[in-house]
């Protein structure tokens, strides 16, 4: 970020003349501007107050990661890569990896136009500040260009703050320029009809307690539908694994909302949509499973001694091959008339569900309905969890896991109805339990599936014996880990079900509804 940012009314030439009368300027570069702002689809860099910019400086690529206050955190003299792991080892990769994880870096705004850069020198001919004249153009995806107002940027240099201030005073005083508070990044996005952070998979609706449940539920479902559609293009082009993940979460949340609040919307339609969303869940499973195996691949290798890790590589190729096939299948489903019909019908239904008056809960205030449903599912979590002992079969843990997900989704849908700190604490406590259950279930399934994959690899032929051996060792490792995770369950559950949390749940969900026993 520059020290100061001014939109220019007068022409560049006369302003330059005025500057030269007071300061020593040296031309640093003249020419075209070519820069690209990058971020992940879910704005992870923006959320962390960072900007990643790829610039073309006279044919040489340069990439800078800066804090929004302008501090340079890391840079490289190469073009941007798609994934953090594609970057060469170094500070840029180190900074990006924990933030963007498995997400792809996508261009969020491309800028062209003209740029003239001048150094402001002191009497030692040392650069003490820089000024940049920009006549930027934002480029949209279809290569249409939109000119932004010309501007002047003042860049300060570390240790030379008084010099930058003197320059700014001159520009704002005798030259009469007015500071602009929005930056190039925000303006470029605005020109593209976007704003930073305009996508998030998180849900939080500003619901009011007295809102009729039917309306509140539609609001929730509409947002989930928006999320689902926003991720569809990313799924179809397989940009990264998280588009499908977010797509599936939106589907699962929709299904939970429809099932858990079934007396709110007209039953007949809800029944039909539940069937269609179940279908959507099932057609997206195989591709997601393979995504997960590929994301877990480095972890799988970690289960093996270093000398055996390379033996797993053919397994990765197998996964990649199948992942491609499953994605192709999925894309066909998403282009099918069944999916298109679901989208159209669902959109219409969310606009005009009709018959809310005839449902049992549609016109009731949402806080009552939410209290009742959350309290009910919470008690189910307790009941199922308390019934699990050291000998309980995996299926019981899986059942509890599913119930926990429903509990979590319901709390998230309706979190705005409860004090933020309380609901946040409960969600966090539940997350601790869910992490354990999720890890257990994943390991359980992986142990079984890896056996199946081994057989399929043999059937497909050409699998080295070392790879099958390594897979066998991996299964042993996962098995051991599964036992450890299972051991941890009782402690995790006890922590979640402790009296303090129970009291909180009673206070939040039980007291207000007269219908609750």
């Amino acid at each position: 970020m520059p020290y100061r940012h001014y939109l220019l009314g007068e022409d560049q030439k006369s302003l330059l003349d005025r500057l030269v009368s007071q300061f020593t300027l040296a031309e640093e570069s003249h020419g075209s501007l070519a820069l690209v702002y990058l971020d992940t689809f879910d704005w992870r860099l923006h959320q962390a107050d960072l900007r990643l910019v790829e610039e073309d400086l006279c044919g040489k690529a340069r990439i800078d990661l800066r804090h929004v206050d302008g501090t340079l955190l890391a840079s490289g003299d190469f073009p941007a890569k798609v994934f953090a792991w594609d970057f060469p080892p170094g500070s840029l990769r180190q900074a990006l990896e924990p933030l963007i994880e498995m997400r792809a870096l996508l261009p969020v705004a491309r800028l062209g136009g003209r740029r003239d850069l001048y150094a402001v020198l002191d009497r030692r001919e040392k650069t003490v500040a820089r000024i940049e004249f920009l006549a930027p153009q934002v480029r949209g995806n279809e290569d249409n260009r939109q000119a932004l107002p010309p501007r002047l940027l003042v860049h300060s240099l570390k240790g030379f703050a008084p010099e930058a201030r003197r320059l700014a005073d001159f520009l704002e005083g005798p030259c009469g320029l007015t500071r602009s508070e929005t930056g190039l990044f925000d303006e470029s996005l605005a020109a593209l009809g976007r704003r930073p952070g305009d996508y998030s998979s998180k849900i939080n609706h500003g619901l009011t307690p007295a809102l009729p449940a039917g309306q509140a539920l539609r609001q929730v479902l509409r947002q989930l539908f928006t999320t689902l559609l926003a991720n569809q293009p990313g799924v179809e082009t397989a940009l990264d694994s998280e588009f499908l993940h977010d797509f599936r979460v939106a589907v699962r949340r929709t299904r939970t909302a429809l099932a858990q609040l079934k007396n709110v919307l007209p039953a007949r339609e809800v029944e039909a949509f539940r069937k269609e969303f179940a279908w959507l869940g099932s057609i997206t499973s195989p591709a997601r499973d393979l995504d997960v195996y590929l994301l877990d691949f480095p972890r799988f290798q970690g289960f093996l001694p270093p000398e055996a890790r390379a033996d797993l590589i053919p397994f990765r190729h197998f996964l990649q091959r199948h992942q491609r096939t499953e994605y192709q299948r999925l894309v066909k489903h998403l282009q099918s008339s069944r999916f298109r019909a679901l989208v159209c019908r669902w959109r219409d239904f969310l606009e005009q569900p009709g018959g809310l008056e005839e449902t049992a809960d549609g016109m009731k205030p949402i806080d009552q309905v939410a209290d009742r449903r959350i309290w009910k599912i919470y008690r189910r979590v307790l009941r199922e969890g308390q019934a699990i002992g050291p000998q309980s079969p995996p299926a019981e843990l899986h059942e509890l896991r599913k119930t926990c997900k429903k509990f979590r989704y319901l709390m998230e849908f309706f979190q705005s109805l409860y004090p933020a700190e309380d609901i946040g604490r409960l969600i966090k406590a539940l997350k601790g339990l869910q992490d354990n259950l999720g890890a257990y279930q994943d390991l359980h399934v992986q142990v079984e599936t890896l056996g199946r994959f081994s057989r399929e690899m043999v059937a497909e032929g050409d699998t080295p014996a070392e790879t099958l051996l390594a897979l066998g060792r991996l299964v042993e490792g996962l098995d051991r880990r599964q036992a450890e995770v299972r051991e941890e369950f009782s402690e995790r559950f006890a922590r979640f079900a402790r009296e303090e949390n129970q009291r909180l749940c009673r206070t939040l969900f039980k007291s207000s509804s007269p219908e609750q026993a």
């Binding site: 890391a74 170094g90 500070s91 570390k158 030379f160």
Partner: protein, 251 residues
């Protein structure tokens, strides 16, 4: 953060030229780099066109009353900052002596910089003193320019002995030939034979070149005004060696 010190007991061996040019290359390679000009003569500071003055002087720095970060100046180059020299650095020995554990002091002062920089290059004054001892404790590696003469090699031996006596096993000593004049028979002979006998020696010799002398006139690193000259290319390959030896850029 990797701490490198350009150091030699003797003066006039190309220490500052090495510190400035290697720092420039480090910065160009994307590493956030800081040069601390510890030499009161302030040659590195001069090359970067910065005034050789530090608020509070050496005393403020050593006592920890002044935060290092507030005294740092950006150079004209991206990723490359400078902590300027100050005339008071000539009595840095005395100032260190007043502190508890004087040899560990510098290391402590540098610690907070690790958050902002990947590479720190100390341009050290020529001597063996408390300051150099403190540098040895703070640095990961000493870059030692050596003019290929018998006497220079003797001082290099003294340095290795010193490291052994102080049990500074983690300190890498990376000597390299500096100001090599290919017209001189002795230079040629030593440059050709010595690296085979000393494994720690870096392979790239830096030639004696008029462009390096011109750094004083141009007040800039070679890359700025003579990027294509032989000496610039030599520094580039020397930097590649240093980065590879010290695993810079491979966390």
């Amino acid at each position: 953060m990797k701490v490198l010190a350009s150091y030699n007991i003797k003066g006039g061996v190309g220490k500052t030229a090495a510190a400035v040019n290697l720092a420039w290359l480090s910065a160009r390679g994307g590493h956030r780099t800081l040069v601390w000009d510890l030499d009161p003569q302030g040659a590195a500071t001069y090359y970067f066109r910065v005034k050789a003055k530090v608020k509070g002087g050496g005393r403020g720095l050593v006592s920890g009353r002044r935060a290092l970060d507030d005294l740092i100046k950006a150079t004209d180059f991206a990723n490359l900052d400078l902590l300027p020299a100050d005339f008071s650095y000539r009595s840095l020995d005395l100032l260190l002596e007043q502190e508890k554990k004087p040899t560990r002091r510098l290391r402590k002062i540098l610690k907070p910089l690790a958050e902002h920089y990947d590479v720190l290059l100390l341009d050290c004054p020529p001597s063996i003193s408390l300051v150099s001892e403190a540098v040895f404790f703070a640095a990961d590696a000493l870059l030692v320019p050596v003019i290929p003469t018998t006497l220079s090699l003797r001082t290099l031996d003294q340095l290795f002995d010193f490291r052994a006596r102080q049990q500074l096993d983690d300190l890498a000593i990376l000597p390299f030939f500096s100001m090599v004049d290919r017209r001189k028979g002795l230079h040629r002979e030593i440059v050709e034979q010595l690296p085979a006998q000393r494994v720690e020696m870096l392979k790239t010799p830096i030639p004696y070149a008029s462009e390096v002398e011109r750094m004083g006139l141009e007040k800039a690193p070679l890359g700025r005004f003579a990027a294509r000259c032989g000496a610039a290319a030599a520094f580039e390959s020397l930097w590649d060696e240093v980065a590879a030896r010290l695993n810079i850029g491979n966390p």
